[in-house]
């Protein structure tokens, strides 16, 4: 038996690489936190400000709540409409984006590219543009949410489709089914629960997003938030925030419960 040539538990190579990566991460952080004046020291120095804003925010002004509720409902309605249309329109898009259904890159790549571009645009920026076109109101907000959710839903769904069990497709194909039958009998049953689940998830995302669209005039509760901030009326701001919080938590909870039961 030859005398073992051993260097220890971790090879030097691996050690060196880990060290370099770690140093790089820390160095970049040092630079960015300095450049944005957000070092841990700044957090300490900002302490007075955190305390002040807390005393400003409390106690919330509950007399203002009814007005907030009205806008909250609008917000949720915007999310419902946008999600519904996005879900419907996304079906052909995600089918075409799935490489296992349409292996030719000439089909799925362009569709994916467009969806990827759409997803890079922050929804509030979309809202700004739509406000520029359609004027202030809920419509541009719905449009912004719709476009954004379309991209999101399409991506989530085509990824799901690409991970389905391809065997049943073989089976349907082997018994003589055509492409549409294969999709309908072998693909859709496998992804339907996820589709509903992702739809609900996108709805959650949309509720959250629509709460701030009002900042740029695109409807919903954000308008109130923006007004009260302009008035420096923090107790009312707090009321709005708490109501948003409760609404989002409740919606997430319900949606999660439904999703759990589905999948």
């Amino acid at each position: 038996m030859s005398k073992p040539e051993i260097k220890g538990v971790v090879s030097t190579n691996a050690k060196l690489r880990m060290t370099i990566i770690l140093v790089a991460i820390v160095a970049v952080y040092a630079y960015t936190s300095w450049a944005t004046k957000s070092t841990p020291m700044d957090i300490v120095r900002g302490w007075g400000g955190f305390q002040r804003i807390l005393t400003d925010l409390f106690p919330p002004n509950w007399a203002y709540a009814p007005q907030v509720m009205e806008k909250l409902i609008e917000t949720i309605q915007m999310a419902i409409i946008a999600t519904t249309f996005a879900a419907i329109i996304s079906v052909p898009i995600f089918l075409l984006s799935a490489a296992n259904l349409f292996p030719s890159p000439w089909i799925h790549q362009p569709v994916r590219f467009i969806m990827n571009v759409l997803r890079t645009i922050p929804d509030i920026l979309l809202a700004i543009i739509f406000v520029g076109i359609f004027g202030v109101g809920v419509f541009p907000g719905i449009m912004a949410l719709f476009i954004f959710s379309l991209g999101l839903l399409a991506k989530l769904m085509y990824e799901t489709i690409e991970s389905i069990d391809m065997n049943p497709l073989d089976a349907i194909r082997a018994s003589g089914g055509n492409t549409i039958q294969v999709i309908w009998y072998a693909v859709m049953p496998q992804v339907l629960p996820q589709f509903v689940s992702f739809g609900l998830y996108v709805f959650e995302v949309n509720v959250r997003a629509s709460t701030v669209l009002g900042f740029v005039g695109a409807g919903g509760i954000g308008l109130l938030l923006q007004q009260q901030i302009s008035f420096f009326n923090y107790p009312r701001v707090m009321t709005i925030i708490i109501i948003i919080f409760i609404a989002v938590v409740i919606i997430d909870y319900i949606s999660n419960k439904i999703r759990e039961r589905i999948v």
Binding site: R45, G48, G49, Q51, R52, T55, D56, L57, F58, V131, G135, V136, G217, L223, Q227, I229, S230, F231, F232, N233, Y234, P235
Partner: protein
């Protein structure tokens, strides 16, 4: 917290031991012997209440810097709220704040004070105007009952605050919201006018004369829209400073700004960029009129 309605104590920043005491933490440590800052920051909001909208304050800043001997940086803020918060946190020392914003700012921070105000068309005040379609049958403010009102924004001094106050005071309107059949927040003075132009609203309230600002895009605006009435005089935008600066420096700043009135070159810049024809001294009490108007509203 912030918001008992008794404002007029702002004059004496140090005397009032409200919660703002804690704000100025860093500065109050050194207290009376406030130092010259290494750099002055001037915060500017692209004002909605003017026909031109500036996106740089560089020429002004350069000139100030030259005269004061301290570097001066101009920073464009996204809105007056940001300017006020920045001044509250001593990140901005000189802020250009509209009248209503100033009143709210003094309510929130003790160390913000107006020292100068702008002069437009030779006046340090301006008015808000009610604009209706030329062929409209609205002849007086009373006729507005049941009509659709397009306003730029609930935080606008000329677009909302003064007209609403006028309706309440002079015409006994108790609740403007039910006086009109509908209120559209158009998101800008220009948009408010366009709502009327398009027939989506019957009346728009804007600064005087906002029509000019959309004339380029809508050449017909002067003929098709007619001014129904004006409000009382509104004090122009302030140039406010934080009183955490040494008094000496504040005096110097005021002096330099006033000197621009005699400087053809600066006057030209101010006019072309901000529509200002001059600068005048201001005191906090100049804005009491806005303060008393704002008290009518359920703002705080």
């Amino acid at each position: 917290a912030c918001g008992a309605a008794d404002e007029p104590t702002e004059e004496a920043p140090a005397a009032d031991p409200t919660e703002e005491e804690t704000d100025a933490t860093e500065e109050t440590d050194e207290d009376a012997t406030a130092d010259y800052p290494s750099e002055l920051v001037m915060g500017f909001v692209p004002s909605q209440d003017s026909a031109n909208i500036a996106d740089t304050v560089a020429p002004l800043a350069d000139r100030l810097s030259e005269e004061l001997g301290i570097p001066v940086r101009g920073e464009v803020m996204t809105n007056y709220t940001a300017t006020v918060e920045a001044m509250g946190n001593d990140q901005v020392h000189i802020g250009f704040i509209p009248a209503f914003g100033y009143v709210l700012a003094t309510d929130r921070y003790d160390h913000i004070e107006a020292v100068l105000k702008s002069v437009r068309h030779g006046s340090s005040t301006y008015k808000a105007q009610y604009t209706v379609r030329a062929d409209s049958d609205i002849e007086s403010l009373e006729d507005l009952e049941g009509k659709i009102w397009a306003l730029p924004d609930l935080t606008s001094t000329s677009g909302y605050l003064f007209p609403a106050a006028q309706l309440m005071d002079d015409y006994g309107v108790e609740d403007v919201e039910s006086f009109f059949s509908n209120i559209i927040q158009a998101g800008g003075h220009d948009n408010a006018l366009i709502q009327v132009l398009e027939g989506d609203a019957d009346v728009a309230t804007t600064f005087d004369d906002a029509r000019e600002s959309i004339e380029a895009d809508y050449p017909e605006v002067m003929e098709e829209l007619r001014v129904l009435d004006y409000t009382d005089e509104i004090p122009n935008d302030t140039i406010s400073v934080t009183t955490n600066l040494p008094q000496e420096l504040i005096d110097q700043i005021v002096e330099v700004f006033l000197s621009f009135n005699d400087d053809e070159e600066m006057l030209e810049i101010m006019d072309s960029v901000y529509n200002w024809t001059g600068i005048d001294t201001a005191t906090d009490s100049d804005y009491d009129v806005v303060r008393s108007v704002s008290e009518k509203f359920d703002v705080n």
